[in-house]
């Protein structure tokens, strides 16, 4: 019982509400949102240390003991993701200062970002599945506003599709919840796990689990990613980076949570299905990443490939593959944010959206060009950057499960990622420039530094993987042994 557990949800909401009243004080808004994110990073580090020392923490709201009340559960997996999400949001906010423009800043940009991060953190930490739905909606409502902010024609058009798809997904979520409550009579995730184990996962429960699979697959962009490239390519760069880094990851987190904690009894149905879906997702993502010349489409399909890769680890569900999924999830949040920021900056500098109409950026912006190189090899999984550890562990898990075809596809996708970005690198970053020295558009420091910070993060996560390993191992232990989580939640 520790009030610190709820802070990642409460702090951004409180500050967000305060910021609504400071509409025209942009400097105050910037400073407050920066401080909020810094404090969230600090809180999550403290929570991580506490969990290491004394096990999973929980907070029962209103003193209602589980399974009757809503509780927040802080285990290593959730808090690691809260930590990375806070770091990524902090960096995207710094990027936004110099890129988003005063008009956006006065239209409640910072409050919406804070509300969204509150929803994201809440989804990571909640121990109640209906509360997960509510946190999803908090996050989504803020993201609806963020994607439509600015109000140009294309943005509004794509945001309408995004909203309607998500409304439908939320509807399925509610239907699944209704059936789940009808069959098991509880909504607490740990208690659900106990009840499913008691009753045995029969055909009805498996069907309900598949309904959840559809819902979370839609949010994560697993197989049902048709909405993703359109909606992720319209908002301003900083917002697109936040979306690419955080929103799909929440869906992935929910999938991992549900299918390791509650519905883990019938892997021959659910997990095989997840595996198949992730294989198709990766193949389709690879095709998309190669097919398009519009940079934002290339990046959006790279997000899709990342989703497929993480969920392969869940599909085979061995110890090492799940550990790999956690590593890769953390890596993917950082690397995708970096990729989105870099690509947004490229489009901003050249005024072109297609990479075959750019060339020679490295002549004018040498550091920027090499940062693109870093994100490229990080996504391809080359050490010492962060993609390596996750890929190797997922690969190991796939070998243990003897799914060699899947393994081949997984590692072939790395080559495709490398190819799709190397193409951009050779064309847009290398090559001769048509703009003479001195005529180039200046690259603001405020946009270069955030990308540099993310590069440091991906290097730190890859090079210092050993330092993170105790946290990740603890997270894996909890995921692999649901009893630890159940005991922590249901003990008096």
């Amino acid at each position: 019982m520790n009030n610190l557990v709820v802070m990642p949800l409460v702090v951004p909401i409180m500050i967000g509400i305060v910021l609504v009243f400071l509409k025209n004080h942009i400097r105050v808004q910037r400073a407050l949102s920066l401080i909020t994110m810094l404090s969230l990073i600090f809180i999550s580090i403290v929570l991580l240390e506490n969990i290491q020392a004394s096990g999973i923490m929980r907070l029962d709201f209103g003193g209602w003991l589980p399974p009757y009340g809503i509780s927040f559960v802080a285990d290593s997996f959730a808090i690691l993701l809260v930590l990375i999400a806070s770091i990524v949001t902090l960096i995207c906010l710094i990027y936004a200062y110099s890129s988003i423009g005063e008009r956006h800043e006065k239209m409640y940009f910072y409050p919406f970002v804070l509300f969204m991060i509150a929803g994201v953190n809440g989804s990571f930490m909640t121990g109640d599945i209906f509360n997960l739905f509510v946190c999803f909606e908090v996050m989504l409502l803020a993201s609806y506003a963020l994607i439509a902010l600015g109000g140009n024609k294309k943005q509004l058009r794509e945001s309408l599709k995004y909203v309607l798809i998500n409304v439908l997904a939320s509807w399925f979520f509610l239907v699944a919840l209704a059936f789940l409550y009808g069959t098991l009579g509880t909504l607490n995730m740990a208690h659900l796990s106990v009840r499913v184990a008691e009753e045995g996962q029969d055909a009805l429960l498996t069907t309900i689990s598949l309904l959840f699979l559809v819902v979370f697959a839609l949010k994560a962009g697993l197989l049902l990613f048709f909405w993703l490239p359109g909606s992720y390519s319209v908002p301003p760069t900083a917002v697109a980076a936040l979306f690419g880094a955080l929103l799909t990851k929440v869906g992935i987190y929910a999938l991992i949570r549900m299918f390791t904690l509650v519905f883990y009894h019938k892997p021959e149905v659910t997990h095989i299905l997840i595996e198949g879906m992730s294989v198709v997702t990766i193949i389709a993502g690879c095709l998309g990443a190669i097919a398009y010349k519009d940079l934002r489409q290339v990046v959006a399909y790279n997000v899709v490939i990342g989703v497929g890769f993480v969920l392969m680890g869940l599909g085979v569900a061995t110890d090492s593959s799940l550990q790999g999924s956690i590593y890769y999830l953390m890596h993917d949040m950082i690397a995708k944010a970096m990729l989105f920021l870099i690509v947004g900056t490229m489009i901003n500098l050249t005024g072109e959206k297609r990479f075959d109409r750019m060339s020679g950026l490295i002549r004018h912006y040498p550091l920027f060009g090499w940062l693109f190189f870093i994100v490229m090899i990080s996504l391809a999984g080359i050490p010492p950057f962060s993609g390596f550890v996750g890929k190797i562990l997922i690969g190991q898990g796939l070998i243990e499960a003897e799914s060699y075809v899947v393994l081949a596809i997984a590692f072939f996708s790395s080559v495709v990622v490398l190819y799709s970005l190397l193409r951009v690198f050779l064309q847009a970053i290398f090559g001769e420039t048509s703009v003479s020295i001195g005529d180039e558009k200046p690259l603001p420091k405020g946009q270069l530094i955030p990308i540099l910070l993310l590069a440091c993060c991906t290097f730190g996560l890859g090079f210092g993987a050993e330092g993170f390993s105790s946290f990740v191992e603890d997270a894996t232990k909890t995921i692999v042994n649901p009893e630890i989580y159940i005991q922590a939640v249901l003990e008096k």
């Binding site: 509510v134 506003a145 509807w171 209704a178 059936f179």
Partner: protein
């Protein structure tokens, strides 16, 4: 009673599906609103309708009706209200900028 409710839910879902499949933006939004009503009824029905007394511990006799579905529905109604309001404003803005409320013309140009 439950059977009637389930039939009603079925009708609502079919109406909503019909509306959502149309090309008109407003019809689609109305469809999502009806869809949310259907699921609220589903939550109410699935937990059992009128199984006991009002759940006021000292003022009514047991057995009590489960009060949780009502709480869930209340939350879901608030959320769907907010989302519907947002989508309606969005649709209005799209009508202002694109001069269209037809999904056919909101497809977006083909990517090269």
């Amino acid at each position: 009673m439950e059977t009637m409710m389930i039939l009603l839910i079925g009708v609502l879902v079919s109406v909503a599906t019909y509306l959502i499949l149309s090309k008109n933006v407003i019809r689609v939004i109305l469809g999502t609103a009806i869809l949310s009503h259907a699921v609220h009824l589903l939550i109410l029905t699935i937990a059992g309708v009128k199984k006991g007394n009002v759940p006021l511990l000292k003022e009514a006799e047991s057995p009590y009706t489960d009060a949780l579905p009502q709480a869930l529905i209340l939350t879901a109604i608030v959320i769907s209200f907010a989302v519907t309001a947002f989508v309606l404003v969005l649709a209005f803005r799209i009508y202002q900028t694109s001069k269209s409320d037809d999904f056919e013309s909101l497809r977006g140009q083909k990517y090269e």
